[in-house]
């Protein structure tokens, strides 16, 4: 078992998570209802209530390096169940953003999928499924992921070979551009 140095803890971490998420983390009394309802708890390395606790005691490295924040499906069960009205799923989102900014992505494939998805939206104004699939497979080498779905979705036209274009593609691209500008400041 690790010994956490509580007094040497990174107080700025707790404050930063609180500021970004707008949630009062002191309100968490560790009842465990978020963990109790979490459909992904089977895959988590650290349970969501434990993540909340580690944030409370300022354990930046432990939290940002955990896998759970990348596996969270943002289903909001934890937020719905929280007796103290904390947006737990929102906290998970913000921690994931912080991990990304710190150059950490313990579940690389999840990050690659999200990035490929957003790339596709930026380029086409909406997601281009085939392009997303190719991009994801090329970057992760997971060539056979969900390949068994192809015979079902192909005849329904759900996996077109050419991207659909939409009206206002440029505006969507502008959103990405503006985001990057704000970020670089």
């Amino acid at each position: 078992m690790n010994t956490y140095k509580i007094t040497a803890a990174d107080n700025t971490f707790t404050a930063e998570v609180e500021k970004r998420s707008g949630q009062d983390l002191n309100a968490c009394y560790q009842c465990g209802n978020c963990t109790a309802g979490c459909p992904f708890s089977f895959a988590y390395d650290i349970q969501v209530s434990n993540i909340m606790r580690l944030v409370q005691i300022g354990q930046r490295d432990k939290v940002l390096q955990c896998h759970s924040i990348w596996l969270c499906a943002s289903c909001q069960s934890c937020t719905t169940r929280c007796p103290n009205n904390i947006d737990v799923a929102g906290v998970m989102d913000h921690i994931r953003h912080m991990a990304r900014e710190a150059g950490l992505a313990t579940e690389r494939k999840v990050k690659v999928f999200v990035d490929s998805f957003l790339d596709s939206v930026e380029r086409h104004g909406r997601v281009y499924e085939m392009g997303l699939m190719v991009s994801y497979m090329a970057k992760t080498g997971r060539v056979f992921t969900d390949v068994e779905l192809a015979p079902k979705v192909l005849p329904k036209g759900k996996l077109p070979l050419k991207p659909h274009s939409i009206k206002g593609k440029e505006q969507i691209a502008a959103i990405f551009k503006r985001f990057r500008e704000v970020k670089s400041k």
């Binding site: 465990g32 109790a36 309802g37 209530s49 007796p83």
Partner: protein, 658 residues
């Protein structure tokens, strides 16, 4: 007038952020002030003696003390002034602690504000006149509202103390929640066996008049002389004739009535006596289910009743009782778990509340004390208890701890093992709250000797699977999700204020908190008093409480009533409204606005209409004063002239302009 001003340091409470010596210096320049000094603790023995000595030495005729809130020490200083031979209303208090030093950090601004407040107090004092209290007789009878264990204890203690007691109970029997419990923690003694004798004592005591199935409709009057209107709700059974034989219950064909006493576990007959030990043991017809009322024909009970007590024409009646004090002991209600969809919102028969489980375990309950689950009557082997259902949960507006659920859950787990030796109990908890004599030992006994599995975490979902209920929760100590296959789930529902508590509070003119619990006068030092003179509190109406605390408060409230009644007369407060008859034009606006009915219409000897204030009824609220177009009705000690003098002192320049 010769005024003395005393500026209190209150240790560093005031002196920390107010220059007290400077305030005293400034006060020396105020009109009529002949003496001003600062003192370390004005309320202390030497502090009070200093005031008394100054009155004698400087021939003072009025005193201003600048210190804490008048709620704290106004009576102290008034008594000190009185001891020195002055009228106690020739005293004014300026609050420079709560209103100045505790709320501001800037010493200079604070000092200036303190000087202003002292100046206002001195100006008011210059317009004060001596007032004399009158004495009035008190009616040494007491009304107790609520016949639970707290009300029973208060009634018995008052009755034993020689007082006449009027006990009003909403349901048809006294006993309250305690009468429903199977056993009590931490001794596991039979609840009804220890409460029963007290209930019988109430019934047999010559000093106690019991109104069961009755409610307080209206409260008029004041400490020492309340007039209470009580509604005796109809039972359709003449209780003078009813012997409680129970023959009507045997023959009643409507057997599907909601069983209030058993909290819906099982059903009862439309005419029923709630439980065998009921006091009074009298039958009542539930009109909602009675065939005579729903279908217009039946009357079986009337035919079989050996004393002819049944009367379908009976209606509500009213009784008026005069008392000198009131004890509110209206108890609590239980949280409605339908607010939790994750626990099934009340739609699963095998997810029940703790009080329903008590009735299942009780020998006088619908299953004669055999634990059978409601869905199929099977004996449960795995029983899950979930704590904090409607407690410590902001999302359902119940952020407070109900205090007793940890203990009754431990008791129910122990009793489950006693009833079904091959059963297992699982308790989902957040924290165990067991402060009390032998309480924590009791919880440990449940864990160590009765093998109760305590799981630290909340439950997020209950769903049926086959004939089991699957309970999914967290074990935060193991850092994992857990699932239990349960045969029966018991929800430890928390306490909330009794239905109708705010309405009764308004009748009694007492205050209540945002959850409907009654406010005590002081959370530590006046736990059974209210801010309304003559009205006291006992039991869980003031906040969730277990049996020992409720009984303790019942006795405490009785002691307060007995000490109040140890005098034959009370002094009335002279700070009341008075009519200047020569200015009164008889418009009677004051009569209309007075919330206490204290102003009466009269005629003077020339038959001119005039208003007159009944001194003992007036509460000194001042509503009439602001209503009177002639300024003829004036609240003594707060007259227009006195208040304007304060305003003038505070803003002289503005007053000059006008």
């Amino acid at each position: 007038m010769r005024i003395g001003v005393f500026i209190c340091h209150c240790g560093s409470n005031i002196a920390g952020t107010v220059d007290c010596a400077k305030v005293a210096d400034a006060a020396k320049a105020f009109p009529d002030v002949v003496h001003a000094e600062d003192t370390m603790y004005a309320c202390s023995e030497p502090g009070q003696q200093g005031i008394i000595d100054a009155i004698h030495e400087k021939n003072l005729t009025g005193v201003v003390v600048a210190s804490c809130t008048p709620r704290m020490h106004e009576p102290t200083f008034r008594r000190a002034v009185e001891r020195a031979g002055l009228n106690k209303y020739m005293f004014e208090m300026a609050n420079i602690r709560e209103h100045v030093s505790w709320i501001g950090k800037d010493k200079e601004l604070n000092t200036n504000k303190a000087i202003d407040l002292v100046m206002m107090a001195a100006e008011k004092l210059r317009h004060n006149a001596p007032l004399m209290a009158k004495k009035f007789d008190i009616n040494k009878r007491v009304l107790i509202i609520g016949g639970g264990v707290a009300g029973i204890q208060a009634a018995l203690d008052c009755a034993e103390g020689g007082l006449e007691v009027v006990l009003v109970e909403k349901t048809t029997s006294i006993g309250g929640k305690m009468a429903k419990l199977d056993k009590t923690f931490p001794t596991v003694d039979c609840s009804c066996c220890i409460l029963g004798p007290k209930m019988v004592d109430v019934a047999q005591h010559p000093n106690i008049t019991l109104y069961a199935h009755a409610e307080v409709e209206e409260v008029n009057g004041y400490i020492g002389n309340f007039e209470i209107r009580i509604k005796q709700k109809t039972t359709y059974v003449d209780w003078e004739k009813c012997t409680g034989c129970g023959l009507c219950m045997e023959k009643c064909p409507s057997k599907k009535s909601y069983d209030h006493f058993n909290n819906g576990v099982g059903t009862t007959t439309a005419i029923n006596i709630p439980f065998p030990q009921a006091i009074p043991k009298k039958a009542k017809i539930d009109a909602e289910y009675c065939r005579m009322f729903t279908k217009g024909k039946c009357g079986v009970c009337a035919k079989v009743c050996p004393t002819g007590a049944i009367s379908f024409e009976m209606t509500d009646t009213e009784v008026t009782e005069n008392v000198g004090a009131i004890v509110a002991a209206t108890g609590y209600d239980l949280f409605d778990h339908a607010k939790y969809p994750e626990y099934g919102a009340g739609k699963y028969p095998d997810v029940i509340t703790s009080i329903q489980y008590e009735r299942l375990m009780s020998a006088s309950g619908p299953t004669s004390g055999h634990i059978k689950r409601p869905s199929d009557g099977k004996e449960p082997k795995n029983v899950v208890f979930i704590q904090c259902v409607g407690s410590r949960d902001k999302s359902v507006n119940r952020p407070y701890c109900s205090g007793f659920c940890c203990m009754y859950t431990a008791k129910q787990a122990i009793l489950t093992k006693d009833h079904i030796p091959d059963s297992r109990s699982f308790v989902f908890y957040m924290d165990i709250r067991s402060p009390g004599k032998d309480y924590d030992e009791f919880v440990r006994r449940s864990i160590e000797q009765y093998d109760t599995q305590y799981i630290r975490g909340r439950v997020s979902l209950i769903y049926p699977q086959g004939d089991k209920m699957i309970v999914r929760g967290a074990d935060t100590l193991a850092g994992a999700q857990v699932e239990v296959e349960a045969d029966l789930v018991v929800l430890a529902v928390g306490a909330e204020s009794a239905a109708g508590a705010p309405q009764l509070a308004e009748k009694l003119r007492i205050s209540y908190d945002s959850y409907g619990f009654y406010m005590e006068s002081h959370p530590k030092l006046k736990p059974v008093e209210t801010n309304t003179a003559g009205v006291f509190l006992a039991g869980a109406c003031q906040g969730p409480k277990d049996i020992p605390s409720s009984v303790g408060q019942g006795s405490a409230a009785a002691a307060k009533v007995l000490s109040l009644f140890s005098k034959d007369q009370l002094e009335s407060d002279p700070q009341i409204a008075l009519v200047n008859a020569s200015r009164c034009i008889g418009c009677y606006k004051c009569v209309e606005t007075c919330p206490f009915g204290a102003v009466k219409e009269e005629q003077d000897r020339f038959n001119n209409p005039k208003a007159r204030v009944i001194e003992t009824i007036c509460q000194g609220c001042g509503v009439c004063t602001v209503t009177c177009p002639q300024s003829a009705i004036q609240l003594q000690h707060f007259t227009d002239n006195q208040i304007l003098a304060e305003v003038k002192a505070l803003c002289p320049s503005m007053m000059v302009k006008n």
